[in-house]
C-alpha cells in the first residue's frame, strides 16, 4: 500500500513526471537529435569527403596520365610543326638573302645602273659647261666684232669730217678754232686736222687710153658712168635760173653709159674681116689649097662649045668666080677692093633712150 500511496501520491506527480520525463526527453530529444544528426552528418561528410578525396586522387591520377598521354601526342605534332616552321623560316630567310642579292644585282646591272647614271649626269653637266663656254665665247666674239666695226665706222666718219673741215686748220698767223691760245694744248681735232689730207675738188679723171675698137670704148665708158658718192658738183657754180628737173635724173641722163645702137655696135665692114678670118681658118686646116673636086665632075673639064644661036659676047666663063670684081684684082680701079658694107636698120635706135619719158620704162 505504501507503495500505492506512494504511487498515488506520486501519481499526481506521475503524470507530470511522466510528462516531464517524456518532455525532458523531448526537451533534449531535439537537441540530442540535432547533435546526433550533426555528428552523423559530420561523420558522413568526413566519410564522403574521404571517399571523394580518394576518388579525386584516383581521378587525378587517371587524368594526369591521360593528359600526359594526350599532350605527348600533341607535343609530337607541335614539335613537328615547330621544326617545320623553323626550317621554313630558315629557308625563307636564306631565300630572302638570295633574292635580295639577286635583285640588287639585276637592278644595278640591267635596269638602273647607279654609277652609270651618276656618270651620265656628270657627262651631261660637263657637256653643258663646254657648250656654255663656247657659246659665251661666241657671243663675246660677236660683241667685240660689232664694237670693232662700230669704232672703225666712227673713226672713218671722223676722218671724213676732218678731211672736209681741213680749212679750219690753224696757220702761223691765225690760230684755228681748235687751237685756242687760252688752252694748254690744242684740241685733238686740231691734230686730226693736221693729219688729214685735204679733199681735192672732184675733177673728171681723163684716161688717155688708146681705144682700139668699140668694145674698148664701152669698157672705158663704164668708168665714166653715173658717179658714186665721192663727187659733188663744185660749190662756186653760178646758180642758174628756172625750174629744173630732179638733179638725180639729170645726172643719170648725163652720165648714162653708152648704149650704142645696133648700127654702131657692129662695125660696118664686118663682113671682110669675118671672111678673112674664115679663110685663115680654112688655110690652117686644109692640107692642099686646091679644091678637091669629086670624081663625078671629072668629065666637066672639057670646054663648053656654045651653039651659034645661044652664043653671046658675054662668055659663060665670065659667070665664074674669077669674073667677079672682088676676086679679080685686075678689075680694081684703085689698088684696094671696095668695102662691103651692111648698114643695120635704124628703126628702134631712139626707143626708150630719149630724154623725155614718153614710153619710158619706169
Amino acid at each position: 500500500m505504501a507503495t500505492l500511496a506512494r504511487l498515488q501520491a506520486r501519481s499526481r506527480f506521475l503524470e507530470n513526471q511522466y510528462y516531464f520525463r517524456n518532455s525532458v526527453v523531448d526537451a533534449f530529444r531535439k537537441k540530442e537529435n540535432c547533435a546526433a544528426v550533426k555528428i552523423q552528418s559530420w561523420f558522413r561528410g568526413c566519410q564522403v569527403r574521404a571517399y571523394i578525396r580518394h576518388l579525386h586522387r584516383i581521378a587525378i591520377i587517371i587524368q594526369k596520365w591521360w593528359r600526359g598521354y594526350l599532350s605527348r601526342k600533341h607535343y609530337q605534332l607541335k614539335v613537328e610543326v615547330a621544326y617545320y616552321t623553323m626550317k621554313m623560316e630558315l629557308y625563307n630567310a636564306m631565300a630572302v638573302r638570295i633574292q635580295r642579292r639577286w635583285r640588287a644585282y639585276k637592278v644595278r646591272k640591267y635596269c638602273f645602273n647607279y654609277f652609270y647614271y651618276k656618270q651620265y649626269l656628270r657627262a651631261v653637266s660637263e657637256a653643258n659647261e663646254t657648250v656654255r663656254e663656247i657659246l659665251q665665247e661666241y657671243a663675246e666674239i660677236q660683241e667685240s666684232e660689232e664694237k670693232k666695226a662700230e669704232l672703225e665706222r666712227e673713226e672713218k666718219q671722223r676722218a671724213e669730217e676732218a678731211r672736209k673741215m681741213h680749212y679750219l686748220l690753224s696757220t702761223k698767223q691765225i690760230p684755228g678754232i681748235y687751237n685756242s691760245p687760252f688752252r694748254k694744248e690744242p684740241d685733238p681735232w686740231e691734230l686730226r686736222l693736221q693729219r688729214a689730207k685735204p679733199l681735192v675738188p672732184q675733177r673728171r679723171r681723163v684716161q688717155q687710153k688708146q681705144c682700139a675698137g668699140l668694145a674698148d670704148w664701152l669698157a672705158c665708158t663704164s668708168a665714166r658712168s653715173f658717179p658714186r658718192s665721192g663727187s659733188l658738183p663744185p660749190i662756186n657754180r653760178k646758180p642758174c635760173q628756172g625750174p629744173f628737173r630732179n638733179i638725180n635724173e639729170v645726172l643719170e641722163q648725163r652720165y648714162k653709159p653708152l648704149e650704142p645702137t645696133l648700127r654702131v655696135a657692129q662695125p660696118i665692114d664686118e663682113l671682110t674681116p669675118a671672111r678673112q678670118e674664115f679663110q685663115g681658118q680654112e688655110w690652117v686646116r686644109n692640107i692642099s689649097d686646091k679644091m678637091f673636086l669629086p670624081f663625078s665632075s671629072h668629065h666637066k673639064k672639057e670646054k663648053y662649045m656654045p651653039s651659034l644661036f645661044s652664043s653671046s659676047k658675054y662668055d659663060p666663063i665670065s659667070c665664074r668666080k674669077q669674073g667677079f670684081r672682088s676676086e679679080n684684082p685686075g678689075k680694081w680701079i684703085c689698088d684696094k677692093d671696095f668695102q662691103t658694107v651692111f648698114p643695120s636698120v635704124d628703126l628702134f635706135s631712139k626707143y626708150g633712150k630719149s630724154y623725155s619719158r614718153a614710153g619710158q620704162i619706169v
Binding site: 651631261v124 657637256a127 657659246l135 619719158r357
Partner: protein
C-alpha cells in the same frame, strides 16, 4: 595738119592718163586718202588702165591697186569684186618684169587679209601665173611671186595644198639657193607658211629637198633670214617623229645653239621653238638634245629673254623633263629649276607663268630627289593657285603641278607651311604625305612636334571616316598619348 592734131590729142590723152595714175599711186601711200579714193570709185577707173598700151601706165596702175588693196580687207574685197584679178593674171604672163612685180604685189596685197580673198586669188588661176613668175630671171620678180604665194598659203591647209599642186615647192627651194638675201628670206617664209598646216604638206616640202638648204642657211649672219629659216624648220619638225628626225639628221645641232646667243629676240624665240618641236616627240630625240648641251643653252636663253620670247624655252624644258626621270634629272643639273622659278615669280603674263608651273610639275613628279629639287617653288605655286587674280588656266596648271609633286615629296620641312594656308583638297595630299613619311623617320617626327606641326594637325577639322581623318589618325599613332594631348 589734121593728122598732127589727131596725134596731139592722143598724146594729151596719154599724158593725162599717166598723170592721173601716178597721182593716184602717190596718194595711195598715205592712209588718210584711201577712204576717199575708195568712195570715189577709183578702182573701176584703174581697171581699164591695167590694159593700157603704155607700159608705164599699166605698171603704175597695178602699183596703185596694190597699195589700195594692201590697206584693208574692204578695199581688197572691192578689188576682187571689181574683176581685176583675171586681167592681172592674163597680162602677168606676157609683160616685163616691172609689171610682173607690180601684179604680184597686188596679188599679195589682196591675198594676205583673209582666207576668202586668198581663195579668190586661187579661183582666178593666179597660182599658175605666179609659179611661172618664180622661174623668171629677175630676183625682184621671184621675190614678189614668192611673197604672194606665201601670203596665200598662210591661211589654211586647202590653200596651201592648192599652192603645192601648182608646183611651187621645187621652185621655192631653188629660190632659197639664190644669192639675194631678200629672196632667200621670202622663200623661207613661204616654205614655212606652206609646211605649217599638215604633215603631208610638210612632207612635200621635205621631199623637194628643202631641209638641207635651210640647214645651211642657219649660219647666215642676217638676223631676219635666220628667223625665217628657223621658223620654217620648226614648222616642218612639229608634225611627226619622222620629220623631226629628218630635221635632226641635217646636222643642225650644235649650230642651232649659236642662234640662241643671237642679239635678235625673234631669232632666239624661233631657235627655242625649233628645239622644242624636236624635243617634244620622243625620249630619244630629247636625249639627243640633252647630249648636245641644248638644255643648258636654252636655260641661258630663257635667262636673257623677257616676256613672250621665253615661252618656247620654258615649254621645251617641260617637254624634256616629261619624258623620263633621267632627262628630268638632266634638266635639274643644268640649273633649269632656278630659272623656271624666276620665271614663275617675275613674269607678268599669266600664260607664261602657267607654262613655268607646268614645267616645274613635270620636273618634280618623278621621284623624291626630283621633288626635293623643286620643293622651294611649292609656296609660290600655292600662292598662285589661291590668288583670285590668276586666270583659270594658271590655277589649273598650278594645282596639277602641286598634285604631281606632293606625292613624291619626302622633305617634310618644306611641306609644313602647307598645313597653314592650303585649301582642303591640297591639305588632304599633304597630310597623306606626312602619314607616309612620319612612321619611318624618328628625326622627322621630333622635328614635326617641335615646329608645331602636330598642334596644327590637331586643329584640323575632318569628317570622321573620311580620308583626312584616317591620315590624321595615322599621324597621331606615330606619337605616344601624352605628346598628342599636350600638343
Amino acid at each position: 595738119m589734121s593728122q598732127r592734131q589727131v596725134l596731139q590729142g592722143l598724146e594729151e590723152y596719154r599724158k593725162a592718163r599717166l598723170q592721173f595714175v601716178q597721182r593716184v599711186a602717190e596718194q595711195a601711200t598715205r592712209p588718210q586718202n584711201l577712204e576717199t579714193l575708195q568712195s570715189a570709185g577709183v578702182i573701176s577707173l584703174l581697171r581699164p588702165l591695167l590694159l593700157d598700151v603704155v607700159p608705164t601706165i599699166q605698171q603704175t596702175a597695178a602699183l596703185a591697186l596694190g597699195r589700195l588693196a594692201n590697206y584693208s580687207d574692204d578695199l581688197a574685197e572691192a578689188v576682187v569684186k571689181g574683176d581685176i584679178l583675171p586681167q592681172l593674171v592674163y597680162s602677168l604672163a606676157e609683160q616685163n618684169r616691172f609689171y610682173k612685180k607690180a601684179a604680184a604685189f597686188v596679188l599679195r596685197a589682196v591675198g594676205k587679209h583673209s582666207p576668202q580673198r586668198a581663195q579668190a586669188i586661187v579661183d582666178c588661176g593666179a597660182l599658175d601665173a605666179l609659179v611661172i613668175c618664180l622661174e623668171d630671171f629677175d630676183p625682184g620678180v621671184k621675190e614678189a611671186a614668192a611673197w604672194a604665194l606665201g601670203c596665200t598659203s598662210r591661211h589654211n591647209a586647202e590653200l596651201s595644198q592648192a599652192v603645192v599642186d601648182a608646183g611651187a615647192v621645187p621652185l621655192l627651194v631653188l629660190c632659197i639657193q639664190e644669192p639675194e638675201i631678200a629672196l632667200k628670206r621670202i622663200a623661207a617664209l613661204a616654205l614655212s607658211d606652206i609646211s605649217k598646216h599638215s604633215p603631208e604638206l610638210a612632207q612635200t616640202v621635205v621631199d623637194a629637198g628643202a631641209i638641207a638648204h635651210l640647214a645651211q642657211m642657219i649660219l647666215n649672219p642676217d638676223a631676219k633670214l635666220k628667223h625665217q629659216v628657223l621658223s620654217a624648220l620648226g614648222q616642218i619638225a612639229k608634225h611627226s617623229v619622222d620629220l623631226a628626225e629628218m630635221v635632226v639628221e641635217a646636222e643642225i645641232f650644235p649650230v642651232v645653239l649659236t642662234c640662241l646667243k643671237d642679239k635678235d629676240e625673234y631669232v632666239k624665240k624661233s631657235a627655242c621653238t625649233l628645239i622644242r618641236e624636236i624635243a617634244k616627240h620622243t625620249p630619244e630625240l630629247s636625249q639627243l638634245v640633252v647630249n648636245a648641251g641644248g638644255v643648258a643653252s636654252v636655260t641661258d636663253c630663257i635667262g636673257s629673254c623677257r616676256g613672250n620670247t621665253r615661252l618656247p624655252g620654258i615649254m621645251m624644258l617641260g617637254y624634256v623633263a616629261a619624258h623620263s626621270e633621267n632627262l628630268a634629272m638632266a634638266v635639274i643639273i643644268s640649273k633649269g629649276v632656278p630659272q623656271l622659278s624666276v620665271c614663275l615669280s617675275e613674269e607678268p603674263e599669266d600664260h607664261v607663268k602657267a607654262a613655268a608651273a607646268w614645267a616645274l610639275g613635270q620636273i618634280g613628279r618623278h621621284t623624291s630627289e626630283h621633288a626635293r629639287a623643286v620643293t622651294h617653288t611649292l609656296p609660290v605655286l600655292l600662292s598662285l593657285y589661291m590668288s583670285t587674280e590668276s586666270s583659270e588656266d594658271l590655277q589649273m596648271k598650278c594645282k596639277k603641278a602641286i598634285k604631281g609633286i606632293l606625292p613624291k615629296c619626302t622633305y617634310l620641312p618644306a611641306l609644313e607651311p602647307f598645313l597653314y594656308g592650303a585649301p582642303p583638297n591640297i591639305l588632304k595630299h599633304v597630310l597623306g604625305q606626312f602619314s607616309k613619311v612620319l612612321p619611318h623617320d624618328s628625326k622627322a617626327r621630333r622635328l614635326f612636334v617641335t615646329s608645331g606641326g602636330l598642334k596644327k594637325v590637331q586643329e584640323i577639322q575632318a569628317d570622321p571616316g573620311s580620308l583626312l581623318q584616317e591620315y590624321i589618325n595615322s599621324i597621331n599613332n606615330c606619337y605616344p598619348e601624352e605628346v598628342v594631348r599636350n600638343a
